[in-house]
């Protein structure tokens, strides 16, 4: 593993307090790990020339080529996707759960940072929305590299609190975002599945592309508790006393069903779904994003 690749590990990243550094290290680690870049570059790079056609913007005419060839050619660049991305990050109390060093929220914060960094470097516009039972932060998409600081600043102050009402937030966002955009939803989806799916379908209805990063702590999936315990719901503070040994198998089965069901509904609505455990390296999420971007560009 190269020095950069190690930053794909959430456990390693968790030790770094500077979010900008985290974002850069993660993305560089991710890029270093790729065999072949799916794109021609990250900066605003020249891709090819084509003959000027009437109607093309005059500002894209390459005057150097006109000087040599006396013909009008226009430049084409990679960044021309004109992508606007909204990252919607769940900051409800349940996101604060952690069985190790990295909570779901922290994982979401790192992931959001990395994605933002990546997007801004690709001249895409990125915005941030945080929510719990309502929208708490809304940063509209911008494409300036300096906008990263604003996003990161917003992320650094985030704290898990309040209950989730994801479907409400999704409906609001669907109403709010007028132009077609890429919507990345990062949440543990501890809400009513049908309502959440309905919210996401609303987004799809507005022609937005939606990527879902379903965050889950490994313990939430595996439920490897042994002794009888009192489980306190981090959102409702409701207490439930149970013997994990007795319910583990059924719980695991139920969680699998939940994931499968959620994934199925996402598939049905042409939504990309990725389950990310807080132990999952960030490259999986980034790859998913890039794959989606590619389809969007094509």
């Amino acid at each position: 593993m190269s020095d950069y690749k190690k930053y794909l590990d959430p456990q390693v990243v968790a030790k770094i307090s500077n979010l900008e550094l985290v974002a850069r290290l993660v993305v560089e680690g991710f890029v270093a790990g790729m065999h072949k870049s799916p794109y021609r570059g990250f900066n605003v790079e020249f891709a090819e020339h084509r003959q000027y056609n009437p109607g093309d913007e005059i500002r894209y005419i390459d005057w150097r080529v006109w000087g040599k060839r006396d013909k009008y050619y226009v430049k084409q660049f990679e960044e021309e996707t004109n992508l606007k991305c909204h990252i919607i990050l769940d900051k409800s109390a349940s996101m604060g759960y952690s069985s190790g060093n990295v909570s779901k929220l922290m994982y979401g914060v790192y992931l959001t940072s990395a994605l933002s960094y990546l997007m801004l470097n690709q001249r895409d516009s990125v915005g941030l929305t945080t929510f719990d039972k309502d929208i708490r932060t809304y940063l509209p998409p911008r494409g300036q590299p300096a906008y990263l600081k604003e996003i990161l600043n917003s992320l650094s102050n985030i704290k898990p609190e309040e209950k989730t009402d994801l479907s409400f937030v999704l409906h609001r966002m669907a109403d709010k975002i007028k132009r077609r955009a890429l919507i990345i939803v990062i949440s543990d989806f501890m809400d009513d599945t049908n309502r959440v799916i309905a919210g996401m379908k609303h987004l799809r209805h507005k022609k937005h592309e939606v990527i879902v990063f379903h965050l889950m702590d490994p313990q939430e999936k595996e439920f490897n508790f042994n002794d009888p315990m009192e489980f306190v719901d981090m959102e409702s503070n409701e207490v439930l006393k149970t013997d994990p040994n007795r319910i583990r198998a059924a719980y695991r089965q139920r969680i699998e069903e939940f994931i499968k069901d959620f994934k199925y509904h996402c598939g049905g609505a042409a939504i990309d779904y990725s389950l990310l455990l807080t132990s999952t390296p960030f490259d999986i999420a980034l790859s998913n994003y890039l794959a989606k971007r590619r389809t969007r560009i094509k």
Binding site: S94, M95, G96, Y97, K104, D188, M190, D217, E220, F225, D227, P228, M229, E230, F231, V232, D233, M234, E235, E238, V239, L240, K241, T242, D243, N245, R246, I247, R248, A249, A250, Y251, R254, I255, F258
Partner: protein, 640 residues
């Protein structure tokens, strides 16, 4: 409904708490954990928790039940509910022999042995089925069946059981057995069961025998330890006259631990004395009271002893005593040395303190014998001969209840005395020994200690008296009214008694002065003479005023009975052998009953009519173990 052959094992039921204790000891305090969302956990709980809880509590219950049932099985429970093959029962004939002698009134642990026996008998009655027949025989000295024929009416049997009370009679077990055997003879049922509920006193069951074809099941009600105080008797002087101080001796027996019981004496319902008696455990003792009767007549009274005691009925002893005028005694002599010969007799009868005797001395001169009439006792001291007139007068005196004491000496005409006079208890034959030769003497070596005149003496009482001379006497051994009361070491009789109508004659074959013996100089001379005179004066002795509740009187209660108006009573007292409380050990009784049909091994009261259900319980335990295994395995799989 249930009883147990091995009830000690019931303490094992406490072990039923073990699963609970383990549950509480191993129950860990749940650690609190913050979890993202308990949404799915709640779903699990809703779906699984109830089943898990049911399984858990079912397991706990099963484990407790397994332990309880196992312990109950070890206690060998018996029931009359008929779990096992009740339809296979053969018709049975059951007789319950219930001892209601007064020793069954012994209190053991707050209840009488009789009530305990009744409770056990009730269990048997409750187990009787409709095809069986039964009868109850209450027995003491004599048995009494409750029904003329057998019955299966449980209600009637139970009513009889409740109604019957203790008697005041003693036990005779064999009489009851005989009646039971006779009753079984009327039954055609193949199974015959005889339950005997008793304390099995040795006195009442010494001659117990079993019978062919009858299962005899003894049910023991013996207390583990005996504690009893008994008044065994009240003793008065043989002759009681009014205004003289009378010595009343009360005999007590202590078979318990009480060391200082109190004895009180009542006369005509008034307490005339009370005292504490120092009486060691398992010993007999005596309490002496003194009383001066104010006038003649028959007095009724009783003695009562109080102390820690579990059988109260024998603490009271009733008595009747007749107080009479002072005793009129006439001393006759016709010898020339009469003064010398009468000396010791006069001294003896006068010198006793509070002696009821009024002695008159007369030299016989063949006078008018009507002077003899007022005397209760006439002593013929060395009277030479008894002519017909004297004989008639004496016989008249005897017929009216008087007594005659005859002593022999040198003055008597042997020819006269050895004739066919009905007066003499024996015929003097010839003189043995010589008063001159004092180195050769005879001793009194035998006497009837049960006779009233000898009751106060010990076997060694007369060993120091030397008799140098006496007359041999021919006793008619076939005469039922004649008996020898004391004899010399050569076998010759010393005192011979003959009953004549209401009266009595005592013949002393030696003289009562110091010529023929040194007896008058010995300490027993005076009491013997007094006892003889009192005895002769009594038309009825104290025994005749006592009636023991046995034989034909077994149904009577202790107390008094009027035998003649207006005031002639007798005292009724318990047959005290029943108070001894010596019990047959169970194995001895079983040995005695070990006949062909007897059930010598079984001592249990109810084992026959009740079925043992240990096997059922053990099968249940096995089934529950299988269930427990299935549920716990299912649970383990679920956990995995």
């Amino acid at each position: 409904m249930f009883s147990f052959l091995n009830p000690l094992m019931l303490f094992g039921l406490i072990a039923g708490a073990i699963p609970l204790i383990i549950h509480f000891l191993t129950k860990r305090k749940a650690k609190q954990v913050f979890f993202g969302s308990i949404r799915f956990l709640k779903e699990m709980e809703e779906n699984k928790r109830s089943r898990i809880n049911i399984d858990f509590f079912l397991l706990l219950l099963l484990r407790i039940l397994i332990i309880l049932l196992f312990c109950a099985a070890l206690a060998r429970p018996l029931t009359s509910l008929g779990f096992l093959g009740s339809g296979k029962k053969e018709a049975r004939t059951v007789i319950l022999l219930i001892d209601n002698s007064y020793s069954m009134g012994y209190r053991d642990g707050g209840d009488t042995l009789f009530n305990k026996a009744k409770k056990k008998a009730k269990e048997i009655i409750d187990g009787i089925s409709i095809i069986d027949e039964a009868n109850i025989i209450f027995f003491n000295e004599r048995p009494e069946n409750s029904f003329n024929d057998f019955t299966n009416n449980k209600q009637a049997l139970n009513n009889i059981l409740q109604e019957r009370e203790l008697s005041s009679a003693k036990t005779r077990g064999q009489n009851a057995l005989n009646l039971a055997f006779e009753m079984f003879g009327k039954s055609k049922n193949p199974e015959k069961l005889l339950y005997i509920f008793s304390d099995f006193q040795k006195n009442g069951f010494s001659d117990m025998k079993s019978a062919e074809g009858i299962k005899i099941i003894p049910v023991f009600t013996q207390p583990p330890e005996v504690s009893n105080l008994t008044v065994t008797g009240v003793e008065f002087p043989n002759y009681i006259s009014f205004r003289n101080t009378t010595r009343i001796s009360v005999h007590l027996k202590n078979t318990g631990r009480e060391k200082k019981p109190r004895a009180a004496i009542y006369l005509e319902k008034n307490k005339i004395g009370e005292k504490e008696i120092d009486l060691q455990s398992n010993s007999e003792g005596e309490a002496v009271f003194f009383y001066s009767f104010p006038e003649k007549g028959v007095y009724k009274g009783f003695v009562e002893v109080e102390g820690s005691d579990n059988l109260k009925i024998d603490n009271r002893f009733y008595f009747c005593v007749e107080v009479r005028d002072p005793l009129q005694v006439l001393l006759l002599n016709d010898s020339k040395d009469s003064e010398e010969e009468n000396f010791y007799i006069k001294q003896a009868l006068f010198s006793a303190k509070d002696s009821p005797v009024v002695l008159k001395t007369l030299t016989l001169q063949r006078q008018d014998y009507s002077i003899l009439k007022p005397f209760s006792v006439i002593i013929l001291n060395n009277v030479s001969r008894i002519d017909e007139k004297l004989q008639d007068a004496l016989l008249k005196n005897l017929n009216s209840g008087g007594g005659i004491l005859i002593t022999l000496g040198n003055n008597i005409s042997i020819k006269d005395y050895s004739g066919n006079s009905p007066l003499f208890p024996a015929k003097p034959q010839f003189k043995i020994g010589s008063e001159e030769e004092t180195s050769k003497y005879f001793k009194i070596t035998s006497f009837d200690r049960l006779h009233p005149i000898f009751k106060i003496f010990t076997s060694e009482s007369f060993s120091s008296s030397h008799f140098y001379s006496f007359y041999s006497a021919k006793v008619d051994l076939l005469d039922p009214d004649t008996r020898v009361l004391a004899g010399f070491d050569d076998g010759s009789p010393f005192i011979i008694e003959k009953k004549y109508g209401e009266g009595k004659v005592l013949l002393f074959t030696s003289s009562l002065d110091s010529n023929w013996s040194d007896f008058p100089l010995r300490p027993n001379y005076l009491p013997l003479l007094h006892q003889a005179v009192y005895y002769l004066a009594q038309p009825k002795d104290l025994k005749q005023r006592q009636l023991i509740l046995e034989g034909e009187f077994y149904k009577r209660e202790p107390g008094f009975s009027l035998i003649k108006e207006p005031n002639d009573y007798i005292a009724l007292n318990l047959a005290l052998e029943e108070s001894e409380l010596f019990y047959f050990p169970a194995d001895e009784i079983n040995k005695k009953l070990a006949g062909a049909g007897s059930n010598s091994k079984k001592i249990s009261t109810v084992s026959y009519y009740k079925e043992e259900i240990s096997s059922i319980l053990l099968i249940l335990v096995l089934i529950l173990l299988i269930f427990e295994n299935i549920i716990s395995n299912k649970d383990a799989k679920f956990i995995e």
